[in-house]
Symmetry: C2
């Protein structure tokens, strides 16, 4: 019966377009080498609000509204919004949805949340349930840091393998016409846990999940590295990308030239950001703003976009649990089947 | 294009069956009038583990495994698991999924999480992407209370409108054959906020969302109260159910005899539980264990199951935000279209 599924991969018969996208980034991200690609830049992480959380909410809301404007639709045209973030109970996404006149589903896969939203949105459209879906996600340095780790006033040192939570929001409008970029497949991952317990080393915790989902996608679609122009991960950071490269090499997949990590890129490798960016805002902003234009320009004709999430909480760290990880992936193409 | 959607309602052409379900409840729920309906009862809220959180995880994992056993499938047969809970970053569901060999998507709509999972699972099956989906959810008095409110050692007084978080987990296996109960439609709600700020009065915050989704379902399917034998909400509590009754009466819908609330029922109205149960575990356990048998027995031939969620966090309460609410609904039938 499940004619549109092979292994863990959904195959879209009527692949939806990414009609429009928008990204807003924070002060640190605005200093990075990709700054000019993003739609809006905050010079104040509170975005003029009286708390960081309200600043994150405003950033995410404005990203969603900007993406709707670019797609020439209003919230009332949207059949479903799929959104999430890193804050407890997804309060950023919840409060963004409160101000929009469209049905909303909360989703969470840590930094794989955007890919979860794009995957589910594409599947529900291909399944005949929706003509217009919005997927959005955000993260924020100050809100995440004080929730997961320590009060910001304490200050922290950045070991080279630790990632820096990106302040950014990205929103994507899926539809049937326009945009000239298609989501053609989605591969859903299992939760794996190889026993990493250091919450500063999330890249190493997530890399095995990324490797698994890449291999699963290849297997399900009978594809190999040659079938993709780029494997974009979000967000392993510089350290996690190295681990992923090694894990793939063990399977005789020499992917180094084709691997790019949103978080690893976004700060341009500057040391004060440790291993680079993390937080779902990194991939939510980078994929749309930096990579989609390169797909449209013909530089990449088919990419695999792998969202990776570390499924820890402040409490699991205190209870000395190891860190489970998950990855989900979508195939994004300039010309479906081309 | 979206031929299987009307308004906010998905219409399933090949509605999946609820093949099997299982529920495990905690010590307090085991004293209630429905105790005998549940599969397993804990006399220790830690379930023999060294923390309440690990106890909740074990309870949820065992509910999932028991539902798989009842459906005569293993995790390897499951195309997708959709799970969530009330803990930060959905750690119960994440850790349950870690031990199961199946793809996993984290979902969150507070106490509407189970209905979100059943809805999405049914849609993905009807869309041709899956033959077997598991939807599961849990809540736990001690883990929720200390996360959302105060250390348990402080003790709390229960005003009559305050709900008591239910310790329970429920898991549902969706498939094509067996079970003789179908999910035929799903109606997805918008986030609404009428300005309730008292985190002890969640029933009043959620009742308007419940009213809206019931009216939306009626409108989308051109139905009325006479088309349903039961409107099951989860979980408004006794107070919230009264508010919902009034809100529907204002629309000339005299639903009192047909409304039942999982949380309002589960403790049998005893005063020490305030307004009755809350927490997604209430509906996750009650719907399968108490209501599905009554559908199978022919007492109800078509019901509307409305999940209601209060989208607050400990932080939004401290920041004095009002409490947004959401509701999603599914139509469950003994004979589809019958």
């Amino acid at each position: 019966m499940a004619v549109k599924c092979k292994g863990q991969t959904f195959i879209f018969e009527n692949p939806p377009h990414i009609v429009a996208h928008a990204a807003i980034v924070g002060p640190e991200e605005s200093k990075g080498p990709y700054s000019d690609y993003f739609d809006l830049h905050l010079d104040d992480a509170k975005y003029g609000e009286d708390s960081w959380e309200k600043g994150e909410e405003r950033m995410a809301a404005n990203a969603v509204n900007l993406s709707l404007d670019k797609a020439s639709v209003t919230a009332a045209d949207v059949d479903l919004m799929l959104g999430g973030d890193l804050l407890n109970q997804l309060i950023t996404a919840d409060f963004v949805a409160r101000d929009l006149d469209a049905p909303f589903l909360g989703i969470y896969s840590a930094c794989a949340t955007l890919v979860e939203g794009l995957s589910l949105g594409a599947a529900l459209m291909d399944g005949g349930f929706a003509d217009c879906v919005v997927a959005f996600a955000s993260s924020h340095y100050q809100t995440a840091e004080r929730q997961y780790r320590t009060p910001l006033e304490y200050g922290v040192q950045y070991p080279p393998y630790k990632q820096f939570t990106v302040t950014a929001a990205g929103s994507y409008v899926l539809g049937w016409v326009g945009g000239d970029v298609w989501i053609t497949h989605a591969t859903f991952g299992k939760v794996i846990d190889l026993g990493v317990t250091d919450p500063n080393d999330l890249g190493s915790a997530m890399a095995p999940a990324a490797a698994e989902i890449i291999l699963q996608n290849f297997k399900d679609l009978n594809r190999g590295l040659a079938d993709y122009d780029l494997i974009l991960t979000g967000d392993l950071g510089i350290t996690g990308k190295k681990v992923l490269t090694s894990l793939l090499e063990e399977k005789n997949i020499m992917a180094d030239d084709k691997l790019m990590d949103c978080g690893g890129e976004i700060f341009g490798g500057q040391k004060q950001y440790g291993s680079g960016g993390s937080g779902v805002g990194a991939s939510a902003s980078f994929f749309g703003s930096v990579i989609i234009p390169r797909i449209k320009a013909g530089e990449f004709s088919r990419i695999l976009f792998v969202g990776t999430g570390a499924l820890l909480s402040a409490l699991t760290v205190k209870q000395k649990e190891s860190i489970p990880a998950i990855a989900h992936a979508i195939v994004v193409e300039k010309i479906p089947g081309g």
